[in-house]
């Protein structure tokens, strides 16, 4: 079996297949920002606490700082750029805007990733449960109320 310090990887980033050579210690969010040039995903704590680096890998949201890029070989990776371009997050983004759910915006890509997974889960959620779902994402500006308002609004509208 091959032991490597660098790896050739091929993955689908926002729908586009790309190949790279990466050091195995490069984490996914650094790879997306520095190697791919997608700077929408942010780096916060680098220890899995703040959620600023949340991205989607094979359909589920993960911490970009707790996965190495080499592990995403063969995976579908979606970033804030991808879900913005596709319009998937448009409704949430509009709601965030209307309700002042962002101030400095640093946490927003991660917040949107987490919120989108919740909205798309089809679960009904109370305000309390929305707070629980968002508890893995830190925001240092808004005090969270406006973010919960925005997510609640979109979830209400998504109800059948």
């Amino acid at each position: 079996m091959q032991v490597k310090n660098e790896a050739d990887i091929t993955l689908t980033i926002n729908g586009q297949e790309r190949s790279f050579n990466v050091p195995v210690r490069r984490n996914l969010v650094d790879f997306l920002r520095h190697d791919v040039g997608l700077t929408g995903s942010h780096v916060g704590c680098e220890s899995g606490i703040c959620g600023a680096c949340n991205v989607r890998v094979d359909g589920v949201v993960v911490r970009g700082c707790l996965m190495f890029a080499v592990q995403a070989d063969g995976c579908q990776v979606d970033t804030i750029e991808g879900i913005t371009e596709s319009g998937e997050a448009a409704e949430l983004q509009q709601a965030f805007l209307e309700r002042n759910a962002l101030q400095c915006g640093y946490c927003t890509p991660g917040m949107l990733m987490t919120s989108l997974e919740l909205v798309q889960s089809g679960k009904a959620a109370s305000r309390e449960e929305i707070r629980e779902e968002l508890s893995g994402n830190f925001c240092r500006c808004t005090g969270y109320h406006a973010i919960v308002d925005a997510v609640e609004h979109v979830m209400e509208r998504a109800k059948p």
């Binding site: 032991v3 195995v24 707790l66 629980e132 508890s135």
Partner: protein, 293 residues
Amino acid sequence: MKAPNFNYCCPDTVEEVCEILDSMGSDARILAGGQSLVPAMNLRMASADLLIDINRIQSLKGISLSEDSQWVRVGALARHAEVAASPLIAQHVPLVHKAMRYVAHQAVRNRGTSCGSLALADPSAEMPACAMTLNATLVMQSKKDGVRTVPAREFFFGLYDTALREDEILIEVRWPCSGKDSFAGFDELSRRQGDFALVGVAAQCHMAGARIDHLDVVSFGTGPVPQISEQSVQAAAGQSPTEELARELAVLVAGEIDPDTVPNIEIKRRQAEAIARRVLIQMFQECAHASQE
């Protein structure tokens, strides 16, 4: 910070993993969900010459019921999110089902694994406490000894110290199925939803008619390993599941915390008593309600 330099491999079989561990020992670390190991590496509190990424080993995936329906197997690659959504776990292992909502946050649950949590043995984590309560069976494999099993109550030695040897990989956990006369309780105190517990309590009660046949209560975050309350096992046997009993048992649980292993023992005891009381009252109400039907 970023993780220190390491080499990486991604084997296809458990045998290959065992081969590497046999030759490298603690210089190699197993990477499963990576939700504890990678932060520790990023914070430079852990390092490895070689990371063995087991994420592509098919045999470690999945959750299944044993042929004799005695236990539910959770493979080393079953993510917390899979366990939380598993109908088998909900039906047969209600304690773990209840505990899952306290385990980290969704993005972490999407990657982190039950077996990883058990192998690390953080004293504030939920899975080791559940394993102690139910006395789950941990299954490990090595080149030298092949497959061996250890009951959870003989697995946790001390702070981050377990029966898992450096040449072994934890391949699955077997959760014993709880019978229909069993009831589960779980709650914890943490600063933020999903964070590690300051104090937590897991419990399971087996009923014989309207009386308690056997009760297991475990506190965690209260010492180096999850702690079974020996006194409450005896005090509860043969009793009716009343609120009064719950209050008495909570005092016993708190009293058993070793003052030498935790700072601020008075605060810890008050927290443990409050959480134990909450868990036991709720669970006993369910027991009593079911026995009246």
